[in-house]
């Protein structure tokens, strides 16, 4: 996990760091594809939302953060958790509802938390995480820290009132909150055009005068650079900011969604857009890493995912008494 904690991340994603980020993207991609298989085999038990196709956002943002930064995600959280440093094995165990899961099997796919890495939580109600992240930003400012809060959410959350409430307050109090919107064009099953006349999320917040930018979210190099600029400013006392990442959700809203509401992308079109393949092509082309190194990153990720599955399968289910034990602190 280059870039986390030891020193400020570089402004430009290239060289060996790009290979690290490629490895992170492979870990997310292969983890989630495996989760999809395990869901169909009923080894993963509950409601699952995959971010396959959107890995460029998580991998461009989270490796730049420190453990004392607070990261919040929503129902599509696996990629953000993994990119923030959550262990694959404990994340997989959580999705299988096991005792060794990140949350001892009590949270599951939509409620991953890994406090040690600053992954403060994922919420299953769209946009519910956004005002909570505001509180972490307030806390960071209050204790005079350079820590920031990052909230990931989809374009669907932007039409919720509390998004506006949060932007208003964060702007009023100039809090170090970086809002990262993954605009995949669909709010659950419905295209953005059926929900709003404002196409760009960065335009929704324009009247508040906060720093905002829209980037190609499938270009992790672009995501990295834009987020780096915001992060540096937020550490220096500025805020809030909004980074809109245009991306594509390759799978349905949830695993099992037949996705009849949209046309599937042609395979060749997707290969052009795929954030993982794009970084691989670009990195090899620019000699940041070799074909062999890229292939090794993919192989290592596949092996780590299989080890995670084995770990999760071997972990027991939590004891029934846990159902009541943790209700109150």
């Amino acid at each position: 996990m280059a870039g986390r904690d030891d020193q400020p991340p570089p402004a430009v994603l290239d060289g060996a760091l790009a290979l690290d980020v490629l490895a992170t993207m492979w870990r997310i991609r292969l983890f989630e594809e495996r989760v999809g298989q395990l869901k169909r085999a009923d080894e993963v038990h509950g409601l699952i939302h995959l971010s396959v196709g959107q890995e460029g956002v998580a991998a461009g943002v989270c490796p730049q953060l420190r453990d004392d930064d607070a990261v919040y995600s929503g129902h599509r959280a696996h990629g953000h958790a993994i990119a923030t440093g959550a262990a694959l094995d404990r994340t997989m165990a959580e999705l299988m509802g096991r005792e060794d899961g990140l949350c001892r099997g009590l949270g599951g796919s939509m409620h991953l938390v890994d406090v040690a890495r600053g992954f403060m939580g994922a919420t299953g109600v769209v946009g519910g995480n956004v005002p909570i992240a505001l509180g972490s930003a307030l806390a960071a400012r209050h204790r005079g820290s350079s820590a920031v809060a990052v909230a990931f959410f989809g374009d669907g959350a932007v039409q919720a009132g509390h998004f506006n409430e949060t932007v208003n307050l964060a702007t009023l109090w100039e809090l170090p909150l970086i809002l990262v919107c993954e605009n995949n064009g669909f709010a659950e099953f419905t295209p953005r055009s059926a929900h709003t006349k404002v196409e760009r999320v960065s335009d929704v917040v324009a009247p508040y005068g906060l720093e905002r930018e829209t980037v190609d979210g499938n270009d992790v190099v672009a995501v990295w650079a834009a987020f780096h600029r915001f992060l540096t400013a937020a550490r220096g006392g500025a805020g809030p900011m909004l980074l809109e990442c245009l991306t594509h959700r390759l799978r349905g809203h949830y695993e099992g969604d037949p996705a009849k509401y949209r046309e599937a992308l042609a395979k060749e079109d997707w290969q052009e857009k795929d954030p993982v393949l794009r970084l691989r092509r670009r990195g090899v082309g620019a000699c940041w890493f070799s074909e062999d190194e890229a292939a090794a990153a993919e192989r290592d990720a596949a092996a780590a995912v299989e080890a995670a599955v084995a770990f999760a399968r071997a972990s027991p289910f939590p004891p029934p008494g846990l159902a009541e034990e943790l209700v109150y602190a």
Binding site: G107, G128, V327
Partner: protein
């Protein structure tokens, strides 16, 4: 040393004492700097005492995030109904984070909610809505009925590591009572026996404790000896203390200003029926508000609400000394 203070002053004194002893306590709310809360701004500054816009979801969500980061926010909501704007944060976020994280985090915060302004404040400002929160796992619910408890339960709420909804009754605001000076805490989950008696148990909540005590005085004049119990917190609920009293008296009347089907009374009645049925000599009787929106018009407002006469009638009914329905 105790001295007489109004209920509202006792609440504010608790917040003040707790803010002075713990820097992590923050205080947010709409209008904070322009109301009786202004002394807080003067004492603790604008970083710890913040005026928020009318954005309940952001206010409460922000409190959740600050609590996750180690602070102890108190959110001044003025009217309990304003919480309803932010139910996702109150019900689905604040009380569930600890559990869903497998115990990695805790969310210590207080939602200060005034309720029951049954003085012509009509349909949207008079609700007695604690019943819809006492069944949310992870939330605690405090309902002080005296000035001393108003202070002690607020202090405990602030020190508690869980989200607490603190309901103060608007019609008690200026009621005076003896309040201890300095630090004063009242433990959660310990009911108070406000009047000892042997023939009937009256469990009354919040402002209804006063109503029940007035009824008990009337009943005493007629030779009926009632015990009045104030649960003080609904979550946790001191069911053992209630059952102990019912074991002694064999009769239970519940007095709750909430509408019947959203009341704490209905939950307590169910628990006593489940665990204490063998001790009962008569059916449990509930004196609650009617299942209706509270009217503006004064006679209709009174018609819908519990009062001492209705409590007296219910007690006589369970004692078999009157055929008049409550």
């Amino acid at each position: 040393m105790a001295r007489e203070l109004p209920y509202i002053v006792a609440i504010n004194e608790a917040i003040h004492v707790e803010m002075a002893r713990d820097d992590r306590v923050l205080f947010f709310g709409q209008n904070m700097a322009n109301t009786e809360n202004e002394p807080f701004v003067d004492a603790f500054g604008k970083d710890r005492v913040r005026v928020t816009p009318i954005s309940e979801t952001a206010e409460i969500g922000m409190a959740v995030g600050a609590a996750l980061a180690g602070y102890r926010p108190v959110v001044e909501l003025y009217m309990a109904e304003f919480m309803l704007v932010a139910m996702d944060q109150v019900v689905n976020e604040a009380p569930r984070f600890r559990y869903m994280s497998g115990g990695q985090v805790s969310v210590p915060l207080v939602l200060k909610a005034g309720y029951g302004f049954t003085a012509g404040w009509a349909g949207q400002h008079t609700g007695t809505i604690y019943g819809m929160f006492m069944g949310v796992p992870g939330l605690k619910v405090a309902v002080p009925s005296t000035a001393a408890d108003a202070k002690g339960l607020m202090a405990t709420a602030i020190r508690d590591d869980n989200p607490v909804v603190y309901f103060h009754h608007y019609l008690l605001t200026l009621e005076h009572g003896d309040v201890p000076e300095g630090e004063h805490v009242v433990p959660f989950g310990e009911a108070a026996v406000r009047r000892a008696g042997g023939e009937v148990t009256i469990v009354a909540i919040g402002a209804m404790v006063g109503t029940a005590l007035a009824a008990a005085e009337t009943l005493a004049g007629e030779g009926i000896d009632a015990e009045v119990i104030d649960p003080r917190t609904l979550a946790p609920l001191d069911l053992p203390r209630i059952l102990e009293s019912v074991e002694k008296t064999g009769r239970l009347v519940l007095v709750d200003q909430a509408t019947r089907h959203g009341s704490a009374s209905a939950v307590i009645a169910g628990e006593v029926a489940d665990a204490g049925f063998g001790a009962l000599k008569a059916p449990i009787k509930q004196v609650t508000a009617l299942d209706t929106t509270i009217a503006y018009s004064a006679p209709l407002e009174a018609y819908a609400l519990p009062d001492a006469d209705k409590v007296v009638g219910a007690v006589k009914q369970v004692l078999g000394s009157s055929a008049v329905a409550a």
